[in-house]
Symmetry: C2
Subunit: 200 residues, 2 copies
């Protein structure tokens, strides 16, 4: 199924065609493709090149690890995410490694890295769906995440599947069009809520 | 100048070739290209589709706005960022609009949106350099950013320029190769710091 962004200004197809489906095929991802996904995150920019990201990964080749990640996902998400052959947890390091001071860009920079991964996935015919709906405390315990490392999002990755492969109660949600705020609600001139002259 | 990522697994050229230069040409960006950059951010994924991102934008067509953004950037960055025809500040909304509860994914999700913008820029021959080095309190005052909205990063955008266009003391930094942690330092199996079976 395609859900192309309904954008006023043109978007590169990799961005316009990206969306976050619920329907995953259980077919595994080749290790070299998994490697490419992680490389994409690795080469993202970050504040002072701190690279404050880590990824805990459970694949079909490690069924116990996959199950451990899945067990941290809330039931409403686990219903569809269970099929994804790769589950990851993104983690942000709260302090700078070199001086221990708080890194106020850590979570933001993890987002930069993950979106690189999402785009790399798109180039390989893979789809990605991130979830805020997981138990961060349980993840910390189950995955032995140390203090100072903040679990950010669960990430399901795999090949897309047909809508009809989903439980019936999820199909309407899968078919719903993508929606976004108006551009003018997120892009301002050089004062909050002012119109951006170039786009008016 | 090219600085291709030295990755072990293959990366799409848009990701492999992206880096954050200091040398910007002062040539302006067409309004429709600016529109595409902001659309790229707009169509990023976010937790509950909250879209907790805003962008304050100063371009050459609004010299006062451009100067206002520039005035919030620390001197070490302003030296090179002044030439960029577009300056932006990314802002994260700390609470969910629908219920006022804290959004623990807001800053992360702004990162997702900005990296979409970075990739869109790359497709148009533009380069992007984000900065943590700015005065967030000054930005809040100068740009009238309300409480509950968190200034995240200054973003310089424009066409690339030759290294020699930079002040001499910045040229070595511009020429330095890109470096990253080893993949094994950021990608684990389903337990912190464990080896990821698929990549060993």
């Amino acid at each position: 199924m395609e859900k192309i962004a309904n954008s006023r200004f043109s978007l590169h197809p990799l961005l316009a065609e990206r969306w976050s489906p619920l329907a995953f095929d259980s077919r595994p991802i080749a290790p070299e493709h998994l490697g490419s996904l992680l490389e994409a995150a690795r080469w993202a920019p970050s504040c002072f090149n701190e690279q404050p990201w880590s990824f805990l990964v459970g694949t079909r080749s490690d069924p116990e690890g996959h199950a451990r990640l899945l067990s941290c996902i809330v039931e409403a998400n686990a219903r569809w995410a269970a099929k994804a052959p790769v589950l990851m947890l993104s983690v942000a390091s709260s302090s700078f490694a070199r001086n221990g001071k708080p890194n106020r860009h850590a979570q933001h920079d993890v987002g930069l890295a993950v979106e690189n991964m999402v785009i790399q996935a798109q180039t390989m015919g893979l789809v990605v769906h991130q979830m805020g709906g997981f138990d961060a405390q349980k993840a910390r315990r189950q995955l032995a995440i140390p203090e100072g490392q903040e679990p950010m999002a669960m990430i399901a990755i795999g090949y897309p599947a047909e809508v009809d492969s989903l439980p019936e109660e999820l199909r309407d949600r899968e078919r719903a069009p993508r929606s976004r705020k108006e551009l003018s609600a997120i892009a301002f001139g050089a004062a909050w809520a002012s119109a951006l002259p170039d786009l008016t």
